[in-house]
């Protein structure tokens, strides 16, 4: 008789436990999906930030120019040094 009760308790706990685990994780799936969508919608926020970074092109361009100048002068320097020999 007592065993019967124990069995029933065990079965009840098994059903309840699996049920709660599944319901909770389903909730989690739903909320994670929603969150990702929401954040995805706000993703335009980082895009303007990037655009903002691009907005001052002159300094970027000048660094680019500096780089090109450096490369050219290095090449010229090497060319001249090989010529001298």
């Amino acid at each position: 008789m007592q065993n019967q009760e124990l069995l029933q308790d065990g079965l009840a706990l098994m059903a309840l436990g699996m049920g709660v685990v599944f319901v909770f994780l389903t909730l989690l799936v739903i909320s994670v999906t929603l969150m990702s969508k929401l954040i995805g919608r706000f993703q335009p926020v980082p895009v303007p930030v990037e655009a903002g970074r691009k907005s001052p092109p002159p300094p970027a361009a000048s660094t680019e120019k500096d780089e090109i100048m450096a490369v050219i002068s290095a090449a010229v320097h090497r060319y001249r040094s090989t010529r001298r020999r």
Binding site: Q4, L11, M14, G17, L25, T33, M35, S36
Partner: protein, 440 residues
């Protein structure tokens, strides 16, 4: 000559009981498995050594002042303690019989104030709580050590793969079937009269199937502290055996073709999502399952420290030095529970047997769930990643990856398997919360 006899009678060899000798051998076996077979050495070295310490005769490292006094005090002290416990000792019996009856009294339904009085007498004549007993009380009795470890695990966990493919959470949920099926198995064994487990003990045994060390220790310290030693040893030993236990089950339940399924690449996950996730999980826990709050709360806290990016020092401490310190104390405390009278029983064999069944069923449930999801969803899911739903991070995911590579050498499943793997950690913490709510 008398002095020599006293010295001999005080020696370990004279007092060594058979049970203690066997338990010392068990401790040595654990050390062997840890050192030469590399079975979760970080845990099994402290556990094995603690087990040896706990069984040193006469030292009483793992027992309270009261138990120690009962075991070794002079007859006069025994009589005092009996008086404090509100009982008298049979004057005709010898001291050994007194010790036994005192032990029975101290562990069965004595009012707390009487117990405290007896303890005071024991402390008064110079007995003190053993070192390991204190470790256990502070680290596990209070529940702190497993929770701090869980925080460290949170700080080590990357939820990226899970966030990229949230449906893998279902796999983590399905694998928890191992926990509850084992619980039911233990209950069935009891009702058939093979074993003798209460529902609390059955639940604590089932949680081995969660393949999560700290969760197992936490649950068994709450529900069945008397089985903690066997449960912790089974949980960590089987976690080490995951690469042997899982592959045959995975191969049995899948076809060669299914194992070759390629999964689409995971989308990149933004930092904001990773920061929001632990907070969201915490809010869900607070709203729906407060009983899982200790475990999942610490887990979320650790993960937030990792992802928020402004407390790198704390996150680094949580996943390195702190978790190491706590692991040492936790291991020794678990070792203190490897005492002959509670470990050398038929029930321990039952726990070891049921534990491996729990792993098997959890793996099978995860794989079958993945097959089911594959039928329903448009995105292909390789059923092998379902096996990673039993937590055992990151071992189970590596196993899924390895079995997948055997079927198709260009199919890397590791990142896909990490999703269900961390989902399994959440799932087993939720299962633990349910059981503590129902039985605690």
């Amino acid at each position: 000559m008398d002095k020599l006899v006293t010295l001999w009678e005080g020696s370990g060899l004279y007092n060594l009981e058979l049970g203690q000798a066997v338990m010392i051998l068990v401790g040595l076996l654990l050390l062997y498995l840890a050192i030469y077979k590399k079975f979760e050495p970080l845990l099994l070295v402290p556990i094995g050594f603690g087990g040896i310490l706990a069984n040193i005769p006469e030292a009483g490292l793992a027992i309270s002042a009261l138990d120690q006094a009962i075991e070794v005090a002079k007859p006069a002290v025994l009589q005092q303690m009996a008086a404090a416990l509100g009982a008298s000792l049979d004057p005709l019996a010898n001291a050994e019989a007194w010790r036994e009856s005192l032990q029975m009294m101290a562990h069965d339904g004595v009012a707390p104030d009487q117990l405290r009085a007896a303890r005071d007498i024991a402390v008064g004549v110079g007995y003190s709580d053993g070192m390991l007993y204190n470790f256990y009380k502070v680290a596990i009795g209070s529940g702190i050590a497993p929770l701090i470890i869980f925080m460290g695990v949170g700080a080590m966990t990357d939820f990226g793969p899970l966030l990229a493919n949230p449906r893998t959470l279902f796999l983590g949920a399905a694998a928890q079937f191992g926990i509850f099926a084992t619980l039911f198995g233990a209950v069935v064994l009891t009702s058939m009269g093979v074993m003798d487990f209460s529902l609390n003990q059955a639940a604590a045994i089932g949680i081995i199937g969660g393949a999560d060390g700290p969760t197992s220790i936490y649950v068994s310290s709450v529900l069945a502290p008397e089985l903690l030693g066997a449960i912790a040893v089974a949980a960590y030993a089987y976690m080490a055996l995951v690469p042997l236990i899982q592959p045959p089950i995975m191969r049995l339940l899948t076809t060669e073709k299914e194992r070759q399924i390629k999964m689409t690449q995971l989308r990149p996950v933004s930092k904001l999502e990773k920061v929001v996730f632990p907070l969201m999980l915490l809010i869900l826990v607070a709203l729906f399952l407060p009983d899982a709050a200790p475990l999942l709360g610490m887990f979320c806290f650790g993960n937030l420290m990792r992802e928020c990016g402004v407390v790198e020092r704390l996150s680094d401490t949580a996943q390195n030095s702190l978790i190491n310190i706590v692991t040492i104390i936790l291991g020794l405390s678990v070792g203190s529970k490897l005492m002959a009278d509670s470990f050398l029983t038929f029930e321990t064999l039952g726990i070891l047997g049921l534990g491996i069944v729990a792993f098997g069923i959890g793996t099978a449930a995860g794989v079958l769930m993945a097959k089911l999801m594959n039928l329903v969803s448009k995105m292909p899911i390789n059923p092998l990643i379902g096996a990673a739903g039993v937590s055992a991070v990151p071992m189970a995911a590596r196993v899924a990856n390895k079995v997948g590579l055997e079927a198709n050498p260009h199919n890397f499943l590791l990142m896909h398997a990490m999703g269900p793997n961390v989902a399994g950690v959440i799932g087993s913490a939720v299962a633990a919360g349910v059981m503590i709510k129902y039985l605690g």
